[in-house]
Subunit: 150 residues, 2 copies
DNA sequence: TTTTAGTTTATAATGATTACAGATTAGTAA
DNA sequence: TTACTAATCTGTAATCATTATAAACTAAAA
C-alpha cells in the first residue's frame, strides 16, 4: 500500500473525495503491518475522531480493496466455515471461482523457515494452498460461479 | 475421519448417545471429501430427515471436532476479516494463540504441483502459511491469548 | 418398563458485515 | 467567496453465520 499522499492523489484521480475520515484511515493503514480487522481499525480511528462510524471504516476498506491498495487475507471459508474430514496434515487446491477445495496429500520439500526469518516463533506446522481455476470453471468461463460437481 | 460404525462405537465409548440425527450426519460425512459448510451439511441432512434442526448439525459438528474426527479448514480471519496492506505475493507466519500474523517476503523453491496432481486446475498462485507460537506466547505460556505487540 | 442424563428443537442472542435513507460536505464553478 | 450538487457520512435496520437457552423428547441403563 502506498503513502498517504499517494493515496490522496489516487482517490482524487479516480473521482473519490478525500474526507478527513478517509485521510485518517489512510494514515493509520499506511504504516501498518499487523493485518488488522475492521473492528481494530475502527477502534484506532475512534481514538482520534470519536464520531466516525463503523460503516465509514467498512466503506473505506472496500474502496481501498477496489483500488488494489489493500486486500483481505486469503480465506478458504468465505461464507461459512468449511469442515474437513481429512484430519491429518495435508495441503489444498482451491478454485477461486466456484470454491471447490481439493486435498493434496503429498509433502513438499524445501519449505523450511530459517530461525532468522521465523521471528522467534516456535513452529508447529505449515500449510500450502494453491489457487486456480478448476476444470469446470475453465470451461464455463462465462463467469458465473458454477457449482462444479454434484 | 473413520467409518460410520467406528464413529458410532466411539460416541458410545465416550458416553455420547447415538441418535438417528447423529448417525445420519456420520453417514453423510464419512465418505465426503468436498469440505462442506455447516449449511451444506444441513441441507443434505434435511433431504433425508426434514425435521432436523440446524442447531443439531452445528452441535454434532462441534462434537466430531472435539473428538478429533473432523476439523475446520484453517482460517486466518477467525472473528473478522483481516486486511493486508501488503498487496504483493507473499507468505505468512501465524501465531495460533494470539493470532499475530507476520509477512514472509521470500520465495520458496520446490513448490510445484505436477499436472497429474493438479486435478486439471489452471494454477494462478500459491501461498504458504506457517503456524506456531510467537515469542510473547511462548513466554506467557499460562495460556490466555495475550495481544502480543502494541 | 421406568428412569434420567443427554439430546433435540425452536427461538433468541451475538458478532461481523452490508443495506438504506436522511443529513452533511468536498470540490467545482460562478 | 458563495452556491451548488454529487458524493459521503452517520445512525439504524437487515442479513448471515453461529452460539446460547430452555422446554420437550429419547437412548440406553437399571
Ligand atoms: Mn482438506
Ligand atoms: Mn500479509
Ligand atoms: Zn471451479
Ligand atoms: Zn502469540
Amino acid at each position: 500500500m502506498r503513502s498517504v499522499e499517494d493515496l490522496v492523489r489516487l482517490f482524487r484521480e479516480r473521482g473519490y473525495k478525500v474526507t478527513p475520515q478517509r485521510r485518517l484511515i489512510f494514515e493509520l493503514l499506511a504504516g501498518d503491518r499487523s493485518h488488522p480487522t475492521a473492528e481494530e481499525i475502527y477502534q484506532r480511528v475512534r481514538a482520534v475522531m470519536p464520531e466516525v462510524s463503523r460503516t465509514t471504516v467498512y466503506n473505506t476498506l472496500r474502496e481501498l480493496i477496489t483500488l488494489g491498495e489493500l486486500r483481505p487475507v486469503e480465506n478458504l471459508s468465505e461464507g461459512g466455515t468449511r469442515y474437513d474430514t481429512n484430519t491429518t496434515h495435508h495441503h489444498h487446491l482451491f478454485c477461486v471461482q466456484c470454491h471447490a477445495l481439493i486435498d493434496i496429500d503429498r509433502e513438499f520439500e524445501g519449505i523450511e523457515l530459517p530461525p532468522e526469518e521465523a521471528a522467534g516463533f516456535r513452529l508447529v506446522n505449515y500449510q500450502v494452498t494453491f489457487y486456480g481455476y478448476c476444470p469446470d470453471c475453465q470451461r464455463a468461463d462465462g463467469g458465473r460461479p458454477s457449482q462444479g460437481k454434484e
